[in-house]
């Protein structure tokens, strides 16, 4: 057995060590995650895998590998009992994941003594189940990708926005598949928050990628050369690894800052986008309605002018009946002209003005969303400040300046309060916005409905009048002999 327990390769050391530190509950979780992140996972052995696959809701190969290893252990134990030597060969030859520490398997093996005798597949299911139970009922499944680097803004104020896509079946998230746009400073911000929360109690928080002034300036300035593209790609990849490492840490994954970083902006971003679209549409509509009003007025003028011309033609006409008919036509057209004018009023007051109002209202909505971002920034700034104060305090620990130390401690308290307030404010404004947006939407739909019904009714009236006029004209036309 010891032979299999080769010292883990350097790369996985950190993880393994980390795992040892955690309490027993996390042991199983960590094992699974260790295996998952192990880059050189060989293909699972043939025998056990198929059995496990369907029954365990398609665990990932990494998880199977875990069981593979456990099965290894059991296999060894049960060698004499059920397994053939040839079967055993391939299993053993796979080799264990190098990251398994002596601690883990022992802990697992002990309770498994009895089930050893049972079929391999049965053991698989059990071990997996237990793992899953230990991991708070979640199948440990989260995939993060960072993609689509997009330059936002111009000049020295520009920044790269990255799309962070999360695919997961974890229940702590409300959706399975979602993405947000984040910029580099957001990643840094996340890290500094996590660091200040967890490092001082001993957790190793994965560091964020380094800043690079030169690299970023090139991008800002807009140099489209290979070094800039490389820089962006390097950064993108680094950000992705950083996030993956962070979420692999079971404690960090549960942290609200991490959750929010990945997801909770979703609703707000969606809504913001929606309002952006709505804004555009309304403006377009407003433009079209204004064109309508203009054309309708033109139509009215042209109808009136035609009416006059028709009257003159009627006067000129020497056939009496036709002459009269033409005069009547002129009258009808005059009345229609009136109709057009009235309709144009309706177009304007019922429709166009409403749209104008809503375009302006949406500006207010957008401002509210902006304010939320400002509140968020304030909160972030407070958190940064707190961290600084904490750092200052820890520095002062080693100097002999008790009053400065006290001051530092006071300042920390002050900023802790500010951070709390900031968080509360942000939550509050977010809640309020959700409610307000709901109210606004309802109001808008209602307003529009009412206005449009009125407008359509005005159109109907116009049509009724038209029918009246033409029906009156018809006999005149027929009377031409």
């Amino acid at each position: 057995m010891a032979a299999e327990r080769d010292p883990p390769p350097a790369g996985s050391v950190g993880h393994a060590d980390l795992r040892e530190v955690e309490d027993g509950e996390d042991l199983f979780v960590s094992t699974a995650s260790t295996l998952e992140s192990s880059p050189s996972s060989p293909e699972p052995a043939s025998l056990p895998v198929e059995d496990v696959g369907p029954s365990s809701n398609g665990p990932k190969p990494a998880e199977i590998l875990l069981d593979d290893d456990q099965e290894d252990l059991f296999a060894e134990a049960t060698e004499e009992v059920s397994l053939d030597s040839p079967e055993r060969e391939p299993i053993l030859s796979d080799g264990p994941s190098p990251a398994i520490t002596p601690v883990t398997p022992t802990a697992l093996i002990a309770p498994r003594a009895e089930p050893n005798v049972i079929m391999v597949s049965g053991m698989f299911e059990q071990s997996l189940d237990e793992l899953e139970e230990e991991a708070a009922g979640d199948s440990f499944d989260i995939q993060i990708s960072v993609s689509d680097p997009e330059k936002v803004g111009d000049g020295m104020n520009a920044y790269m926005a990255y799309k962070v896509t999360t695919k997961t079946s974890l229940t702590v998230f409300s959706r399975n598949d979602f993405s947000v746009k984040r910029r580099f400073s957001d990643f840094l911000g996340l890290h500094s928050k996590l660091a200040s929360k967890y490092m001082h109690i001993g957790y190793i928080v994965p560091p964020a990628p380094e800043k690079s002034i030169v690299g970023m300036t090139k991008v800002k300035v807009g140099k489209e050369d290979l070094s800039s593209t490389e820089f962006v790609e390097k950064r993108r990849s680094a950000l992705e690894r950083y996030l993956m490492r962070t979420v692999k840490h079971p404690v960090l994954l549960q942290d609200p800052d991490v959750l929010q970083f990945l997801e909770s902006s979703e609703w707000f971003e969606e809504k913001q986008q929606q309002f952006e679209n709505l804004d555009q549409q309304l403006r377009k509509l407003h433009g079209s309605v204004e064109a309508l009003v203009c054309h309708r007025k033109e139509l009215s003028v042209n109808t009136a002018s035609f009416a006059r011309s028709a009257a003159m033609l009627g006067n000129s006409e020497d056939h009496t009946a036709l002459s009269r008919a033409l005069s009547q036509l002129a009258e009808v057209e005059e009345k229609i002209d009136q109709l057009h004018q009235e309709q144009a009023y309706a177009d304007f007051y019922l429709f166009s003005e409403l749209l104008g109002d809503y375009v302006r209202l949406i500006t207010a909505v957008k401002a509210v969303f902006e304010n939320r971002m400002k509140t968020w920034s304030k909160w972030q700034d407070a958190q940064l400040m707190l961290q600084k104060k904490r750092e200052a305090e820890s520095k002062l620990q080693f100097t002999n300046k008790p009053d400065k130390l006290q001051q530092a401690k006071d300042e920390i308290k002050e900023w802790e309060a500010k951070v709390q307030q900031g968080e509360r404010d942000f939550e509050q404004i977010s809640k309020t916005i959700r409610k307000e947006v709901g109210r606004f939407e309802k109001q808008r739909v209602n307003d529009f409905k009412v206005a449009i019904i009125k407008y359509l009714e005005s159109l109907v009236q116009t049509q009724q009048q038209l029918i009246k006029y033409w029906e009156a004209f018809l006999p005149e036309a027929k009377a031409i002999a």
């Binding site: 549409q281 002018s305 000129s316 036709l322 008919a325 036509l329 019904i453 009724q464 018809l474 027929k478």
Partner: protein, 367 residues
């Protein structure tokens, strides 16, 4: 019996299929079709106008050149603006433009058809040799058309005509009938020209309004597609379509009518001018005869000439009177028909529109 059952549009040229069914024996077959271009119609018209024999007749006005400029321009603009519209909007606008294109097409076919039908129903013109060739000759007519002399001849004649106008309005009219006709026609012509222009403008505005409704409906619909209330049609696109139909029917029945009669009256005026010129010739020949008598030279010639002129003038007057009388009748009948049809269409469209709008209101209210 002549009709144009078929027409093709090839790039800029329209090819008409002229179909004739006849019992007249001077044709080779009882039924036949030939392909003709617009220029062929013009050639036929011009030859008829230049035929001395028909000076006393109102030659039906030549059909105007097929004009796809307006829909083509709009189609071009639509293509440019495609990016800024939703798919639905673009599709609807395209549909409308295609309908407009089709309407122009129908119009031009109709006007060419009417030209031929007028000819075939005229007792004298229907027997014209060139008309027969036009209907029957199954080869391309362009060879005959390209007779440069004819083209130039027509051109000069038009120029001469406008000089005559001045001359003729000064001539004293001997006949009450013609005197009245002249006054009437001149006045009527200017009025109808004005009415035609105003009607055109009115129709164009109407079409713009219809198009605006299509844009508005499409935008509203895409707005409501994102809405949670799932209202499908705030303002039905149908409304825009109906308005477009109203505009185009109005154009067909009213504007086209006015346009046609404007041209017809011009043809009637042409007849008057020809007659007036004959009168002028006659008066000149009288003067020449007097001169000849004074000089006692070429008296016989002068006398012959004078008699010819008188004959011509009388012939023109006689046939002219007939033509102008039947013209009035024709005009009244055409106006009556078109005005009735227009009123009926307006009523139909308004009723359609109303039911469309009302069902939309119902839907909105019930939601």
């Amino acid at each position: 019996l002549i009709d144009i059952p078929d027409a093709l549009c090839e790039r800029d040229k329209v090819k008409f299929t002229v179909h004739t069914k006849t019992t007249l024996r001077n044709f080779q077959k009882p039924e036949f079709s030939v392909p003709r271009q617009h220029e062929d119609f013009i050639w036929l018209h011009d030859t008829l106008v230049e035929t001395e024999e028909y000076a006393g007749l109102i030659i039906p006005p030549a059909p105007p050149k097929p004009d796809f400029e307006s829909p083509r321009e709009k189609m071009h603009k639509l293509g440019e603006g495609e990016a800024s519209m939703t798919k639905e909007e673009y599709a609807k606008m395209k549909q409308e433009l295609e309908a407009e294109y089709l309407a122009v097409f129908k119009k031009t076919v109709q006007v060419h058809e009417v030209f031929l039908q007028r000819l075939s129903s005229h007792p004298v013109l229907s027997r014209d040799r060139n008309f027969q060739i036009f209907l029957e000759y199954d080869q391309d007519l362009s060879v005959r058309r390209k007779n440069a002399k004819e083209v130039f001849g027509g051109f000069f004649k038009n120029m001469v005509k406008s000089a005559d106008e001045v001359l003729i309005s000064g001539i004293k009219e001997v006949d009450d009938f013609f005197d009245q006709e002249k006054t009437f026609l001149l006045d009527y012509f200017s009025k109808i020209k004005d009415s035609t222009a105003k009607a055109e403008k009115m129709t164009r505005s109407h079409k713009s309004v219809a198009e605006d409704y299509i844009h508005i409906s499409a935008t509203l619909n895409s707005l409501s597609a994102e809405d949670t209330t799932a209202l499908k049609q705030w303002v039905p696109i149908g409304h825009g379509k109906v308005e477009a139909r109203v505009a185009s029917d109005q154009e067909l029945k009213l504007t086209e009518l006015l346009r046609y009669y404007m041209r017809d009256i011009q043809a009637a005026k042409d007849l008057l001018y020809r007659r007036a010129r004959a009168l002028a010739d006659y008066e000149n020949s009288n003067k020449a005869l007097d001169k000849a008598r004074l000089k006692s030279k070429d008296v016989v010639q002068a006398q012959e000439h004078q008699e010819q002129c008188l004959q011509k003038f009388n012939k023109l007057s006689e046939s002219g009177k007939k033509e102008l009388t039947s013209f009035k009748g024709r005009r009244v009948v055409a106006f009556r028909k078109n005005l009735i049809e227009m009123a009926e269409l307006e009523i139909k469209h308004a009723k359609n529109n109303m039911s469309l709008l009302q069902s939309c209101i119902e839907l909105l209210k019930s939601n």
